[in-house]
């Protein structure tokens, strides 16, 4: 799975149009990225990538790139 595919999955999870996000997109500027969609992100990382995303780690994410880096770790 490419980094672009992962970004597309994030866009789908946030109910955003494909292509609306890129690696540099700042999470605090995305209104759809709220406390509830953060939970969906935890579920997505577990279901799709078998990765455990903790509260502390998610608080450290500033950009979409941070999320993709975590998934690819």
């Amino acid at each position: 799975m490419t980094r672009k595919d992962i970004i597309e999955m994030i866009e789908e999870m946030l109910d955003m149009e494909v292509g609306s996000l890129n690696e540099d997109s700042i999470l605090s500027e995305i209104p759809e990225y709220d406390s509830m969609t953060k939970l969906s992100l935890i579920v997505m990382c577990d279901d799709e990538f078998d990765k455990k995303l903790t509260g502390e780690r998610i608080m450290g994410f500033s950009t979409v790139k941070d999320i993709v880096d975590f998934i690819e770790e």
């Binding site: 406390s35 509830m36 953060k38 939970l39 935890i42 579920v43 577990d46 455990k52 995303l53 903790t54 509260g55 502390e56 998610i58 608080m59």
Partner: protein, 370 residues
């Protein structure tokens, strides 16, 4: 592993009471906005909850439930050998609320009475404690009280919690029997690294005179140190990873599978969490009662609220196999399995009685001549 097995002990009855006052989640729209409230309802499933009056406590509700249950079973208070009150909402900072209930119910001095300080895991840990006490003595009956009034500590402008919690008081009667096949099993885990995830930081002896100033927190909600705090994402990660693992370990230790149970009386944390847990453990969702839609998250009482909602007052007489699971503040989590006759499950009651003798608003009430 903290896996426990008790023979000759059974669950002889459960009952619960909720306050009459219903708060519909929609009524928070003027405070939080339509979109926020709709999203909250969609994710958590809480459409309404019951909230206590100012001086009404979950021991009042538990008292009503216990009185009705003992009357239903034809059991006299003098037959009760132990009374445990497992909650984070005691009537007083001290003494234990168990003593107030003992006094109100007329339970004799020979009884063992004390509080256990837990929230959402109250029922499963309380059952293990009660079974342990009964196992090593000759007492016939034990009464376990659970429930919280979490709503009283939430800041009314905290959108993460103000609409989530409901209030209830529940009771479980446990009985020593002659039948070794009457078994209760329990698995308990603890994770103190998460002690800050669900907390009221002030008012305890670490910071007794904590400031009551309301502060805008980084998550966009207002709270003071005397309000309850929940780190939503950290709690969520724990529930979807550690709770399914506990459930599977419980099945492995007890030699059972999901198919061995008629009912999964699980702590009503929120609908999204319950769906994730069911998905990961392959528990059939139609065997997992949901009461949080009408009663909110009722903390330690929620498993009993679910049993009473589904089976209470249905005039049936069948023995069902139940798995209960509680998880939350501490972090404390656990699972138990037991059988219960549906005739011993009372329907949910509504009550607004307050034990006025226990309400002290003037210091000199403690010095009144009798």
């Amino acid at each position: 592993m903290a896996f426990f097995k008790f023979n000759n002990i059974r669950v002889a009855g459960v009952a619960c009471a909720v306050p009459r006052n219903v708060v519909e989640t929609e009524t928070y729209k003027p405070v939080f906005g339509d979109e926020e409230v709709d999203k909250f309802i969609a994710m958590t499933g809480v459409k309404a909850s019951h909230r206590t009056l100012e001086h009404q406590t979950c021991s009042d509700l538990g008292y009503r439930a216990a009185r009705e249950l003992l009357s239903h079973k034809g059991i006299k208070p003098k037959e009760i050998g132990a009374l445990l009150f497992s909650s984070h909402s005691p009537d007083y900072r001290r003494p234990s609320t168990a003593f107030v209930l003992q006094h109100r119910l007329g339970i004799p001095e020979e009884a063992v009475c004390y509080d256990i300080s837990l929230g959402c895991s109250s029922l499963v840990v309380g059952m293990q404690t009660m079974a342990s006490i009964m196992n090593t003595s000759d007492m016939r009956y034990g009464l376990l009280f659970v429930g919280d009034t979490a709503g009283k500590s939430v800041n009314p402008h905290d959108r993460s919690s103000a609409m989530l919690f409901g209030e209830a008081g529940a009771v479980m009667l446990m009985e020593k029997t002659d039948a070794p096949a009457d078994q209760i099993k329990a698995l308990i885990r603890s994770d103190g690294s998460g002690f800050k995830y669900m907390i009221i930081p002030g008012g305890g002896y670490r910071n007794l005179h904590a400031s009551e100033d309301v502060v805008m927190c980084d998550d966009g909600n207002e709270r003071s140190l005397m309000n309850s705090f929940i780190q939503g994402t950290s709690v969520f990660t724990f529930t979807i990873f550690d709770v399914p693992r506990l459930i599977k370990d419980f099945w492995s230790q007890s030699g059972t599978t999901a198919q061995d149970y008629d009912c999964f009386a699980f702590h009503q944390a929120n609908l999204y969490i319950l769906k994730q847990i069911a998905k990961k453990t392959k528990i059939p969702f139609d065997c997992l009662p949901i009461t949080l839609d009408r009663y909110g998250n009722t903390s330690g009482a929620s498993a009993i609220v679910s049993l009473c909602d589904v089976y209470g007052g249905k005039d049936e007489n069948k023995v069902i196999k139940v798995m209960a699971c509680g998880f939350g503040i501490g972090i404390s989590l656990g699972a138990t399995s037991f059988e219960i006759n549906t005739a011993d499950i009372l329907p949910i009651m509504e009550d607004d009685e307050i034990y006025t003798e226990g309400l002290i608003t003037d210091p000199n009430q403690l010095y009144e001549k009798k």
